[in-house]
């Protein structure tokens, strides 16, 4: 099985490649044919020849890169088995962000078949803005391990949102600036705030606007989300403002009334990480699996073998082996927390004056 799976999906400089179907999955550089799990920029890149992804992921790529992000595109319908070369592929919800999918790759018929699942980024936690993850039985499960250490156990997101609302109640004269990735996390926080009964406007940094509009056009209720105009900032006492993580420490954020700096991320579980970012109100809200969910998901797939793409590979591989599951790290570089890299770079390069623009 292992050798067969290794033939079915190989590792190339561009990323994971299926020779029998002649396509890459989430390639890191431009390729001829790409299957894309979701719209985050480290997985969905510009410049491929042909892209197959869910309707939502294709729309998100078009919003981020322009309509010409690839020469041609093909919509993957969730659950539909599609033949590509000598294999079939199926997209199954991954629960990560709107449109995110696992990709099931299968070769051969009954009795001698081999099925791989490339899960992409996925989570099991509650998210009103996307379809929940579905476990898929397979021979080889390919997983990320962003939070692949047993210290990561995400709390109930409702408690985290309650923490934010309590702070807003206690400091009604201060603005609460919440850093959240522009795709997925931001809209999830908005939706969770609405679920918690918060019905004030949620103010958005300009970088959030288009993707949020897209979520809304997909029928996701987010309430009133005005864009912050530069002149408004000083008057937004008691407001909740959502902005990209790179902006929470920007001069842009300093113009609000005595801002409280919050950040919604699984990394906020570790105090040192929150402190390094100068966060005063860490909100442990993640779009990735925590340790327990990674382990549980692996067991539910009943896979005989697990490949770990990126994150804390060592611990997860160790855990698999201690359970008698074959496992190997792929050490794929280039995947990581959405936008984290580029955001830090952007921050380093922007002068306060530029960042304000």
């Amino acid at each position: 099985m292992a050798s067969r799976a290794a033939d079915l999906l190989t590792l190339t400089p561009q990323g994971l490649y299926c020779p029998a179907g002649d396509f890459h999955v989430d390639p890191l550089r431009p390729v001829e044919r790409a299957l894309v799990t979701h719209g985050h920029s480290d997985h969905a890149r510009f410049g491929h020849g042909h892209v197959m992804a869910t309707r939502e992921t294709l729309a998100i790529m078009a919003i981020r890169y322009g309509e010409d992000f690839a020469r041609s595109t093909q919509e993957a319908v969730l659950g539909e088995v599609v033949r590509v070369g000598d294999v079939t592929v199926t997209f199954v919800p991954a629960g990560h962000v709107l449109g995110s999918a696992q990709i099931v790759i299968e070769q051969g018929g009954h009795g001698s078949s081999c099925r791989l699942v490339v899960s992409g980024d996925y989570k099991r936690g509650r998210d009103p803005t996307c379809l929940p993850y579905e476990p898929v039985a397979c021979d080889v499960f390919i997983t990320e391990a962003t939070f692949g250490l047993p210290v990561f156990r995400h709390p109930d997101v409702r408690d985290e949102v309650a923490k934010l609302l309590q702070s807003v109640r206690l400091f009604p004269e201060r603005a609460h600036i919440v850093g959240a990735y522009a795709l997925g996390k931001a809209q999830r926080v908005m939706a969770l705030l609405r679920e918690a009964g918060y019905d004030e406007p949620i103010w958005l940094h300009g970088a959030m606007e288009r993707l949020t509009d897209y979520y809304r056009s997909e029928g996701i209720a987010l309430g009133e989300t005005p864009k912050v105009a530069a002149a408004d900032r000083a008057s937004l006492k008691g407001a909740i403002v959502i902005c990209p993580p790179s902006s929470i420490q920007d001069v842009w954020a300093r113009r609000f009334p005595d801002p409280v700096t919050a950040f919604a991320s699984g990394w906020m579980r570790v105090r040192a990480r929150a402190r390094q970012k100068g966060v005063e109100l860490p909100l442990v809200i993640s779009d990735h699996c925590d340790w327990d969910d990674l382990c549980r998901s692996i067991l539910e797939t009943q896979a005989e073998e697990v490949w770990v793409t990126h994150g804390q590979e060592d611990a997860l591989v160790h855990w698999c082996r201690s359970r008698g599951i074959r496992a190997k790290p792929l050490h794929l570089l280039g995947y990581g927390d959405e936008e984290a890299g580029e955001a830090d770079e952007a921050l380093a390069d922007a002068t306060p004056a530029e960042a304000e623009a």
Partner: protein, 603 residues
């Protein structure tokens, strides 16, 4: 316990003092007795547990954790206690997952693509189904331990029963709760809240109650402080202080500015040296059983008696003294650098007691033989103080001498040269003068008018900016921490060597300019640090003010500054004309008389 955990979690991230007070006050207002009282005890360092030690928890964690996973986690988190708090699992933490049960076996795509919609509708959201009720996963049962139960247990449980007891609490608490429990057991919250700040928050619960009012009654109180809360909330009488050796908030001075002297009459004032030591309050009194209680308090009211046993045993009187901790060897006061070697030690070895003998140089008397003298004028207290010190005849306690002067000019001369004005070889431990009105009562806090401090002028050096680092809190987007250097002769000509780092002294407007300079002159980046352009013909000169200098093996330059700050930005000065390292070394070797700018800020 969970509410307390939530409080210290939130406060620990909050940089603003006033916001911390608000968070604490909100907690005290909405948390019932006795829970809030034990929280106050934890915040003020009033809790110590004899048997509960971090080692117990470490042992418990190792019993339940895979050692490889623990090591990897510890390496990642960077803190053992936090790792344990996060990694701890109650036995059987997650019940069999309801989601798996509802969805049946994992989905099999090739067999059945059409049931996708159906399974989507049926699949419950994960955390609703099972996770929320799971013990140990941030949703402890409602009957998790109360802070009062934890404090009670840690205080009274025997050594043998503690591990099981602590394990049962860890099982019932969530990550933050476990972290807070570990903090309690290690005895140091380290959340940036002083005892004083916690008392300030308590005072804010009441009408017209000042932090000092709380301080006045504090030492007669014990956890869970029911009488204190009753009093501040207007439900009870002011508690009577029954502590025979209580802390009394010290009187502090304002810095005197040049223009103030015109309004001040020298004849109204007495002057003393301002010693560069540690402000202490030494108190002794008899309790109800006739036993003598002796304590030494820091300026903020922490009981630091344990660190100075040699001084405590010398407190052979009934009263309260205000004075300065110094190290005196062979009749000579050592510099602050020497004193520092005696400070911040948890245990005091006999060797340290001999090498760094603690000395109290007293300047005020607050209470004597049961009588509160604080309302009396300074001159009268001073006379009583002189009598007491003479009567004690204790070599470890002596009197801070007064400086004779008839005019402000006289005093300015003394301040410029303490050695010739009576301080002799002790001049190294003097950082200026204190002015005290002859008729001033002893008032807690920092009243404006009766006492002034007239610090000697700082040393100044022109240095060149070499590196800049982004600040934190409000300055987080700005390059606001600057490392600067002075010239020395290198192998290939003059070179800059870093001599210090400063992150304040400039205005917000100047910060904007400095930040822009850094961004526009960056030559290299090291994470949050940028190296800027510098050299004989380029670079920015910073005039740095500092209080003193000492040798340091840790610094490349061999010297370390005390209290450096940016005094002026010398946009006009070529970097090549900045000071040389020799200038700093001369301060070290010759003392202040030669290098110290004198008379510049005189009256």
């Amino acid at each position: 316990m969970n509410r307390f955990a939530g409080l210290i979690d939130r406060v620990g991230y909050e940089p603003r003092r006033n916001a911390k007070i608000r968070l604490l006050a909100d907690y005290f207002r909405t948390t019932p007795d006795p829970e809030r009282g034990f929280a106050l005890a934890a915040l003020t360092g009033a809790l110590t547990f004899r048997h509960a030690k971090p080692g117990i928890i470490r042992g418990l964690a190792m019993e339940r954790t895979d050692p490889v996973l623990f090591r990897l986690s510890r390496d990642y988190v960077g803190d053992t206690s936090e790792t344990i708090a996060l990694i701890w699992r109650a036995p059987d933490p997650r019940p069999p997952h309801a989601e798996a049960a509802a969805a049946g076996s994992p989905r099999s795509t090739a067999d059945d693509g059409a049931s996708f919609e159906a399974s989507l509708r049926e699949a419950p959201q994960d955390e609703d189904a099972g996770g929320r009720a799971a013990i140990g996963h941030n949703h402890p049962p409602a009957d998790g331990p109360l802070l009062s139960e934890v404090v009670e247990g840690l205080t009274h449980a025997g050594k043998a029963e503690l591990p099981a007891l602590i394990a049962s609490w860890l099982d019932a608490l969530d990550e933050t709760g476990r972290w807070a429990l570990l903090k309690l057991i290690t005895g140091e919250l380290r959340i940036g809240v002083s005892a004083r700040l916690a008392k300030t928050a308590v005072a804010s619960l009441g009408e017209g109650i000042a932090p000092d009012d709380v301080e006045q009654v504090w030492h007669g109180l014990a956890p869970p402080y029911l009488d204190l809360f009753a009093w501040v909330e207007g439900r009870g009488e002011r508690p009577e202080s029954i502590d025979p050796a209580p802390f009394r908030p010290p009187m502090l001075a304002h810095p005197v500015e040049d223009e103030d002297f015109a309004k001040l009459d020298a004849a109204d004032f007495r002057a003393e040296w301002k010693w560069d030591g540690i402000r202490l309050q030494a108190v002794a009194g008899r309790d109800g059983d006739g036993e003598t209680v002796r304590r030494i308090y820091s300026r903020t009211g922490e009981d630091v008696s344990a660190a100075f046993p040699d001084l405590v045993e010398a407190l052979d009187f009934d009263g309260a003294l205000d004075g300065e901790l110094l190290i005196v060897r062979e009749g000579r006061v050592e510099s602050f650098n020497v004193l520092q070697q005696r400070l911040n030690r948890k245990t005091v070895t006999p060797k340290m007691l001999t090498e760094f003998p603690a000395h109290l140089r007293v300047y005020d008397l607050l209470v004597l033989d049961g009588e509160d003298l604080r309302e009396r004028p300074y001159d009268e207290r001073r006379r009583l103080l002189e009598d007491l010190v003479a009567r004690l005849g204790e070599p470890r306690i002596d009197l801070s001498p007064q400086i004779p002067f008839a005019s402000w000019d006289d005093l300015a001369a003394a301040r410029a040269d303490p050695a010739s004005a009576g301080a002799g070889p002790d001049a190294d431990a003097i950082e200026g003068c204190m002015l005290k009105r002859a008729d001033s009562p002893y008032l807690p806090g920092r009243p404006k008018g009766p006492w002034w401090k007239w610090k000697r002028d700082p040393y100044l050096v022109d240095a060149v900016m070499m590196y800049a680092q982004r600040g934190s809190g409000k300055r987080s987007s700005f390059y606001s921490d600057y490392t600067f250097g002075c010239w020395r002769d290198g192998e290939s000509g003059p070179e800059l060597v870093p001599v210090g780092k400063a992150y304040f002294g400039f205005t917000d407007a100047e910060l904007l300019k400095l930040d822009r300079f850094v961004r526009n002159h960056t030559t290299q980046r090291f994470g949050p640090v940028r190296e800027v352009a510098y050299g004989p013909d380029r670079g920015l000169v910073l005039e740095v003010a500092f209080e003193g200098i000492q040798r340091s093996a840790r610094h490349k330059s061999g010297v370390a500054m005390r209290f450096p700050r940016i005094n002026r930005i010398r946009w006009d000065k070529p970097a090549g004309e900045a000071d040389r390292l020799d200038a700093l070394e001369r301060i070290l070797s010759k003392g202040e008389t030669e290098m110290h700018p004198t008379g510049g800020a005189g009256p």
